[in-house]
């Protein structure tokens, strides 16, 4: 494998120095095409510029730390090879729709706050089985794609609705809600859906599918949101009919 010279341009900004506007730092690095953007970033920080800030941990597209915008597209730095860059220039920017803390590190607090709002845990009141709660492999498979979510926020950064307004729950939180709604073991009542029956909830989605495109783990949040809408309409209708009867 031959090494090529790549130009890496990284957006720099420090929330602690708001008077200084965001700017790009440019680094020229020799790299073989198979190296990942994260490897290059680490080399820049370790060998050239120790002040560069970015998150990273597992290097294997599993922990979700290193989401950023790579040449205009949200993705994981550890999963993107430099070969993917056309013209040997790689532009790295922080994930949109979240405030910058420093350089490529964004404030994830709103993302986590919205995740918590959908009560992301199995709800089950039935008396506990002594052993496992049975679940067929088919039932287990239904939640598969949603279980795969690594909460990296690539979808959150790609979402056009969030770009327009920060109130929307966003694709990751709603996909997580769908994960529990369709888990055969979850006993959350349909009335739980009232909490997302708003323009900040399931009706906020524009179905532009940007989240699906951005997801590094093949999760399809839009499918989940559309299904939540159907479920919600069905449940509301049922409730109206019941009200009519009494």
């Amino acid at each position: 494998m031959t090494a090529d010279i790549y130009t890496i341009r990284v957006l720099r900004y420090d929330a602690k120095e708001p008077e200084r506007e965001a700017y790009f730092s440019s680094y020229r690095v020799r790299a073989i095409p198979r190296l990942t953007v994260l490897t290059i970033l680490s080399r820049i920080r370790d060998e050239i510029d120790g002040t560069l800030a970015f998150r990273s941990s597992c290097r294997a597209a599993t922990c979700g730390s290193c989401a950023m915008v790579i040449n205009g597209k949200p993705g994981l730095a550890c999963r993107t090879q430099v070969a993917a860059a056309e013209g040997r220039t790689i532009i790295l920017e922080p994930l949109p729709n979240l405030e910058i803390i420093k350089d490529l590190v964004v404030d994830m607090a709103p993302f986590w706050e919205k995740y918590e709002r959908i009560k992301p845990y199995l709800m089950r009141e039935s008396c506990e089985f002594e052993k496992e709660v049975f679940q067929s492999e088919e039932e287990r498979k239904q939640i598969d794609q949603y279980v795969n979510c690594i909460l990296c926020a690539c979808c959150y950064g790609a979402c056009e609705v969030l770009r327009r307004g920060a109130d929307y729950l966003g694709p990751a939180a709603l996909a997580k809600l769908q994960r529990f709604m369709i888990d055969s073991r979850d006993e959350r009542p349909d009335a739980f859906l009232d909490s997302v029956n708003t323009s900040q909830g399931v009706w906020g989605c524009d179905t532009l599918l940007r989240c699906i495109d951005a997801c590094p783990k093949e999760v399809r949040p839009t499918d989940g949101i559309v299904d939540l809408r159907k479920r919600l309409v069905k449940y509301r209708l049922k409730r109206l009919l019941k009200l009519g009867q009494t």
């Binding site: 510029d49 294997a60 506990e128 089985f129 496992e132």
Partner: protein
């Protein structure tokens, strides 16, 4: 000064499990240098062992068999009382995780699926495809959210504060706000992960550098059995990303360049499913014999899944396939995966007993940072996830008991003094003119790779130790680019490097002194296990003059007499 009843450091499985049990009754805070779902527990693939007997081939499994396999796998260095506790608790913690929503894979009868794993007499590894750590960590974090556990993430603990055998709290850096905060705690639990990243080639996340173990050592808590470092047989060529033992559990072959299943020459009965230490040594032997493939990234052998068929690969090993495509450009449905052995797990760590207690009152450790020891000289696959959850839970019970029984009052003056000390240290690290910390760190990691690997000899270990002592000298003269506390990853690396050097020192010295071969520690110059002289734990403690000194302790043996370890 901020004070809490319980301070938990680390947001992986062990830390979260403890927090979930304690948060209702006490003022508990969990601090973590990354958000909890970014913790390295997430990367575990294969599964968690428990003798549930769900697999038709595992109906005769039992807690005793699980304990026996674990102890034999440990090459008899594990403390047998602790192993028995872990294997007994295994069943209830797996059911508990399921009740909390963990999406395990299932058998046709709706029960939790279990697969065979290395060194196990029965198929007892419960799994969720090849994302077992991912689903367990998410489930526990979800439970922590449900219970309202207070979490401060991107808070990096930089010192453990102890005095006269009692723990008073920690000093940490709030990376986002950029400030140093001293915290008082009645009880402190470290669940900070292993020391894999003292090696250059490792499957571990970059955060797993042994910082917690080093901080505990600096505060007077010994490191135990550090020379026992697990090398995983199957990691991706180039990046050393883990290719789960589940591959072999599902039936994958290991092939040399002639296409031969070379494990036949080493362990004809267990073949690819021999324990990790044995398989790694076999691969390394093949590499040295010239039977491996050659590439510009180094020699490698093949992990062949093709005969399993696309359907089984897609169903049971989807993550492995994705990673293999993304990071090696190889689709295992069509081609074998190029693999090499590489550092994977830390058997050694903070010296604790079976209750998670340390020599220091009010200080506990659980998970990979702790050495209880349940894994002894070699851990079996599927036992690390189990260890984290069981001992997280046990630590919660120990802490509860301690707080109920009238815990000590942490002393503000002691913690304040440590804070000042750390501030001075940071300002010294910020003086210009020295070496960048990453340059020193890279040399340390390469030294460990080169000198303290799968096969060890006196000469190599001695030379390695000398290099590490020289690196220790160099550490006194490192310089940071900036003294800012705000999102300064170089500063954190500079501070953690000190722990990494201590961990590397203990690992290398322990390996040099241990003149036998046991589990993952293999000496070419002492190829046999020697129970007469070496059936004992290594303890590395800081002596009065600040030097690392070694002592030994007998392991606990209940009913499993040490036997020859054959498979």
């Amino acid at each position: 000064m901020v004070e809490h009843d319980v301070l938990i450091v680390g947001g992986g499985l062990a830390g979260l499990r403890a927090a979930v049990d304690l948060c209702d009754r006490y003022d508990v805070v969990l601090v973590s240098k990354v958000h909890p779902v970014r913790s390295h527990s997430i990367a575990a693939q294969g599964g968690i062992n428990a003798a549930l007997c769900n697999n038709p081939d595992g109906r005769d499994d039992s807690i005793e068999r699980h304990a026996f396999d674990t102890i034999k796998g440990s090459d008899y260095l594990a403390d047998q009382d602790a192993v028995e506790i872990m294997c007994r608790e295994a069943i209830s913690v797996v059911y508990e995780m399921e009740h909390w929503g963990c999406p395990f894979s299932r058998f046709a009868d709706g029960t939790i699926a279990q697969r065979p794993f290395g060194g196990a007499g029965f198929p007892r590894t419960c799994y969720s495809a090849d994302l077992s750590g991912h689903v367990l960590l998410n489930t526990l974090y979800e439970r922590a959210v449900a219970r309202g556990v207070k979490v401060y993430y991107e808070y990096v603990v930089i010192a453990l504060v102890t005095e006269e055998g009692t723990c008073h709290g920690v000093v940490l850096i709030d990376q986002v706000e950029g400030r140093i905060i001293p915290i008082l705690a009645k009880a402190t639990l470290f669940a900070t992960g292993g020391y894999g990243r003292i090696y250059f080639h490792s499957t571990n996340a970059l955060i797993n550098n042994g910082s917690g173990i080093g901080m505990a050592y600096a505060a007077g808590v010994p490191m135990k059995d550090m020379e026992f470092v697990q090398f995983h047989p199957t990691t991706l060529l180039g990046t050393n990303i883990l290719m789960s033992e589940a591959c072999r559990g599902e039936g994958a072959y290991l092939l040399d360049k002639r296409g031969e299943r070379f494990m036949e020459r080493y362990v004809p009965k267990a073949m690819e499913l021999a324990p990790r230490d044995i398989v790694s040594r076999s691969i390394q032997t093949e590499i040295e014999a010239g039977n491996a493939f050659e590439s510009e990234l180094g020699p490698y052998v093949h992990l062949d899944l093709r005969h399993l068929g696309a359907e089984r690969i897609l169903e049971r090993l989807p993550g492995i396939r994705r990673m293999s495509i993304d990071f090696a450009g190889v689709d295992p449905i069509d081609e074998p995966i190029p693999i090499v052995p590489s550092q994977h797990y830390s058997m050694g760590g903070i010296d604790t007993n079976a209750r998670g207690e340390t020599q220091v009152k009010g200080f506990y450790a659980a998970g990979e940072c702790a050495c209880v020891s349940v894994h002894g000289a070699n851990r079996l696959g599927g036992n690390s996830l189990l260890d984290t959850i069981v001992f997280g839970k046990i630590c919660a019970a120990s802490i509860d008991e301690y707080l109920q029984g009238g815990a000590h009052e942490p002393r503000e003056a002691v913690v304040a003094r440590k804070k000042e000390e750390m501030e001075k240290k940071i300002s010294k690290l910020s003086e210009k003119g020295g070496e960048r910390p990453f340059a020193v760190m890279e040399d340390l990691r390469k030294t460990m790779d080169e000198h303290v690997g799968i096969f060890r000899t006196k000469g190599e270990l001695k030379a390695g130790l000398e290099k590490i002592l020289a690196i220790k000298e160099r550490y006194g003269n490192i310089s940071l680019s900036s003294s800012a506390l705000h999102m300064n990853y170089e500063l954190i690396a500079g501070l953690e490097l000190s722990s990494m050097i201590d961990a590397a020192h203990a690992t290398t010295l322990g390996a040099l002194l241990r003149e036998e071969s046991r589990g993952a520690h293999f000496r070419r110059d002492f190829t046999k296990r020697n129970d007469v002289d070496w059936l004992r734990h290594t303890l590395a403690a800081k002596d009065a003059s600040g030097e690392l000194s070694i002592s030994y302790r007998e392991p606990v043996i209940t009913k499993y007499r040490p036997m020859e370890r054959t498979y």
